[in-house]
Symmetry: C2
Subunit: 224 residues, 2 copies
DNA sequence: CGGAGCCTCATTGGATACAAGTTCAAGATC
DNA sequence: GATCTTGAACTTGTATCCAATGAGGCTCCG
């Protein structure tokens, strides 16, 4: 897996820094184009430059930042075209994953997916929460849903390639992607996806997933 | 780009070490499962542990090695199934790239491809060379050919994802993939690919590329 | 007043020193 | 005899230190 670290969370400073910087980028607290200086981050996380440096190297490998040899590191900018390209490749990979999953998933997978779906619907229905919390929760569950399907494809390489792109894609305008109408659409399409997987229909699953992702791309292009 | 460094090649020790280790893995001089110790590599490359460590972190990100927190690093093993999975995803990505390239490539791209093809045929025809040299040359040209088509797809994300897999895939049994009959088949299919691109036929290009890669997977499974 | 060259300074890259954890083996105990 | 314990050496992870280089500002000249 590319970026899931489930080891004891207090041990490697480099990992904590990696996650922290990644979160700051995803949250927009580190804006695209912004310069990153190792010493500043080191002080912010109460660490030395060594683990910060290691984290930055990893982030560069994941495509979050860009290191230029002796000049410095900046958060990578992405043009609308690049974003569109990312979604295109995601559509390709994840639709293939959905098709495979339709032929390979078991009852447990389907149960997990249904559980995620239920939680997502509950989170959406809960109108007492602040909209920000809803968006955050939905975003996390959405990611879990897609991840689960990738797993169910039983092709680790495919899952990893797609997960990489998912992570990068999520740094763009989460709020536009999860406005209320978008959430409704997402819920509907996820239901379809579960139906397709349950009925073991690869072509259907593939098509729904492709439509799901390309639809997201389109709404992103319209609003972003 | 993931792993192309075209800056002045004497400046960053970390990059030189990265390339060196990567080559050793691709050449099989570092075997899958073998343990990597930073101090050893540091001495071998006349460097300190710092750049070696940086290189290892990058290699882990690229999927060449596996770091376990305080235990050590080993060259990643791949089961035949994983290899098959890699080829499956490559087929998916590169066939899509070929399809896009058919609609987007220009005369310059086609010229470059033709040049690579000619060089490859020349290398094959030259029977005075040692077989090892032929294989090495053909392997490099083959990689260049595929890379060129990825470029011509004009989708950097797609190109990067596929290139990543290509690099990983090439560490497996280069010699089986480039036995004489395989080279002949490769040359033939590359010719078809150029024809499809030249006639701007996306469906054809896509199909040929898919057949090309899945064929390679099959012959690899048969011999490896 | 504007531009080119130099110079200082901030920042990155590498080396070394140190701390902490893991593995492996030898020994003791059941 | 097998297993658990304990200890020592090795290896990784982090901190600090030093060198080298790119960037920005300042001055001097046109």
């Amino acid at each position: 897996m590319t970026s899931t670290a489930r080891e004891k969370p207090g041990l490697r400073m480099a990992d904590r820094v990696y996650e922290a910087i990644r979160r700051e980028i995803l949250d927009g607290r580190l804006a695209p184009g912004e310069k990153i200086t190792e010493a500043v981050l080191a002080e912010r996380f109460a660490a030395s430059r060594t683990p910060v440096r290691s984290a930055i190297v990893r982030l560069a490998g994941d495509g979050f930042v860009e290191m230029t040899p002796r000049s410095g590191t900046v958060v990578k900018r992405r043009t609308p075209n690049e974003v569109s390209d990312i979604y295109e490749v995601r559509a390709l990979l994840e639709s293939a994953a959905a098709g495979l999953a339709a032929g390979r998933c078991d009852a447990r997978d389907l149960g997990d997916l249904q559980a995620i779906q239920s939680e997502m619907e509950a989170a959406t229905a809960g109108s007492w929460q602040a909209e920000d919390e809803v968006v955050e929760k939905v975003s996390a569950l959405n990611q879990a849903f897609h991840q689960k399907i990738l797993e169910a494809s039983r092709n680790a390489t495919l899952a990893d390639s797609a997960a990489r792109l998912m992570n990068i894609g999520f740094l763009i305008n989460t709020y536009a992607r999860f406005s209320r109408p978008e959430i409704e659409r997402s819920l509907f399409e996820h239901r379809q996806l579960i139906a397709a997987l349950t009925s073991r229909d690869p072509a259907w699953a593939e098509a729904v997933m492709r439509a799901h992702i390309l639809g997201a791309r389109n709404s992103l292009a319209a609003e972003g």
